[in-house]
């Protein structure tokens, strides 16, 4: 039987506020354990939480940027469960009246556009961090708890089960990340846990509309882990079903070292959270005017920016979607063309040599040794004919190590393109003399043979001869 995967994501994103959601403790990452705690976030008796205004603002912006309806009346609820990273024994979250609902984002996979529905976005507090005495939670006799992260504001973005493959899930999460970066509400540093996903995966026979039993994998914090975990789980569930087995609804952990998912608990906890309205926090009322005001002030979003790059600069949909996939990349592109550099060339260099070098060195575009201005200036040198595209590759790798301007590098390394016919003539004559066969071919009507000769001249000039000048000169000499 052929199966179809059904995937839904719950993405948690920490918001980039200065303080926690209900108290004035700082949210700075990496502080010494239990130094950013107070009676409110420790859940001591008798304290009164107060909502950080910025959190509501950021959540509304996230909702609008993902085409959600903003609820004019929204409230907090208590989600009751016992876990040591949660000092109050409930998580303050939102249940039936979340800040935003019924949205969607568009993804592009294999040049096909697809809408992924958003069920809701709600605000809640993050939990603390456990450090286990053993190698993992199962073999640890005790654990140590750091409550610095407790109360850091989160939005949880819940998708519909609209994804059918790991690639779609990745594209969806990348799109959410891009949007949050564009509207500047989260740092989205996945390695710091700013952005993490709980994945739900189930299988059903192709053509069946009823959902199968799902498993959940929590706290996935890299795109690679997301794809690997989904692919593994699809494979595992397929095997279970093909062997006539049954999928058990459970939480599984992803072990990136072994590349497998493992069952987390022997008996599945009943998800009985006994939500109740939070009596300590008055409801949040947002007027239509306020919502429209937020909407008007949203910056340009990834999809709009992509469409603009296609229209204004003639970039392909694929190129434009890669360049707009992160705010930093899109801003880098703007910086390159601000120098006057050709947009298509800019796109090619960004997606080619720049991306290759960034990946190899493991740096983000923001920390690129070659900044937008220098890349733009280098492209201008190609446009002016000072250097050839081939030489530019050398200039680029030199710029990667050397902070000099491309002009200076070209001058210092003697990489200026030779357009002076006299200087090229000697080489051309030599090549003609040495390649009698290609010359004969050309003279016998095979005009393509000139390509081989141009190549020889370029090689002999170490790439510095202007290919167009070489072409003209050869054509003239071969009559």
């Amino acid at each position: 039987m052929r199966y179809e995967a059904v995937i839904g994501l719950e993405i948690h994103s920490e918001l980039k506020t200065n303080t926690k959601i209900f108290c004035g403790c700082k949210t700075t990452f990496g502080a010494e354990q239990n130094t950013h705690v107070c009676p409110v976030c420790l859940g001591l008796p008798g304290v009164l939480p107060t909502v950080n205004k910025k959190v509501v603002e950021f959540a509304i912006k996230a909702g609008l940027a993902t085409n959600c309806k903003i609820n004019e009346y929204s409230k907090f609820d208590r989600k009751n469960y016992y876990y040591p990273d949660l000092p109050k024994n409930w998580q303050t979250s939102q249940y039936d009246l979340p800040i935003a609902e019924h949205g969607y984002v568009e993804i592009l996979v294999d040049s096909e556009k697809k809408k992924i529905g958003l069920t809701r976005i709600h605000m809640e507090e993050d939990a603390g961090k456990l450090v286990h005495s053993g190698t993992n939670i199962k073999d640890s006799a005790s654990s140590n708890v750091d409550y610095n992260r407790t109360g850091v504001p989160l939005i949880e973005i819940v998708s519909e089960p609209d994804m059918r493959s790991a690639a779609e899930a990745r594209a969806y999460m990348e799109k959410i990340k891009a949007i949050l970066e564009y509207i500047d509400v989260s740092n989205c540093r996945m390695e710091e846990g700013n952005l993490r996903a709980d994945i739900n995966v189930s299988l059903r026979p192709v053509g069946e509309s009823k959902l199968g039993t799902r498993t959940e994998m929590k706290n996935i914090n890299s795109f690679k882990a997301l794809e690997d975990a989904i692919n593994y789980e699809i494979e595992r569930q397929t095997e279970v079903l093909e062997d006539g087995g049954e999928i058990i609804q459970e939480t599984r952990t992803w072990d990136p070292a072994k590349g497998i998912t493992l069952s987390m608990r022997s008996k599945e906890d009943a998800h009985d959270y006994r939500y109740m309205p939070e009596p300590d926090l008055p409801p949040i009322v947002t007027t239509k005017e306020e919502i429209e005001n937020y909407r008007k002030n949203l910056p340009e979003l990834p999809d709009a920016r992509r469409a603009r790059l296609e229209k204004e600069y003639g970039l392909s949909e694929y190129d434009a979607s890669i360049i707009t996939s992160s705010r930093e990349m899109a801003e880098y592109f703007d910086g390159v063309i601000a120098t006057g550099a050709d947009a298509k060339q800019a796109a090619n260099w960004i997606m080619g040599d720049l991306s290759k070098n960034l990946n190899a060195d493991g740096v983000t575009v923001k920390d690129s040794p070659v900044d937008a201005k220098r890349l733009g200036e280098m492209i201008l040198l190609i446009q002016k004919g000072t250097i050839s595209g081939k030489i530019a590759k050398q200039v680029f790798s030199e710029m990667w190590k050397n902070p000099d301007s491309p002009e200076k590098i070209v001058k210092d390394k003697g990489l200026v393109q030779i357009t002076d016919t006299k200087a090229i003539e000697g080489i051309v004559d030599e090549v003609i003399a040495k390649n009698q066969k290609a010359v004969d071919d050309y003279k016998n009507g095979n005009k393509k043979a000139i390509g081989a000769l141009v190549g020889q001249v370029m090689k002999a000039s170490k790439g510095k001869a202007n290919p167009q000048a070489v072409n003209e000169l050869l054509a003239k000499k071969l009559g």
Binding site: T19, T35, N80, L130, V145, I284
Partner: protein, 97 residues
């Protein structure tokens, strides 16, 4: 609404409470009385009454996103049953399977 002995065991498990066998019946009867008392409210016609989500006539109580001092760590940890290296130390998290 009838509270059963099963309900009592379920709620006790969710609340991590151990209830002695001989106490089960007592809890069941008492909780049943409390819940049944609430049933009186069921008789009120609420057809045109919007659900109450908050008891006081208040909304939009916010604070600005400005940092305040946190507790000294020593003070924060002072009531913890066990402390290790500036952490709250807790016993095994997952029950042994």
């Amino acid at each position: 609404m009838k509270v059963t002995e099963e309900d009592i065991l379920h709620i006790a498990a969710l609340s991590r409470l151990k209830i002695a066998k001989e106490e089960e019946k007592n809890y069941q009867e008492e909780l049943d009385k409390i819940i049944s008392y609430m049933d009186i409210l069921e008789g009120v016609d609420t057809e045109n009454v919007p659900p109450t989500t908050y008891a006081l006539p208040m909304e939009n109580v916010f604070r600005e996103d400005e940092p305040k001092d946190s507790l000294d760590r020593e003070l924060a940890l002072s009531n913890a049953p066990e402390v290790e290296d500036g952490y709250f130390k807790v016993p095994r998290v997952l029950e042994e399977s």
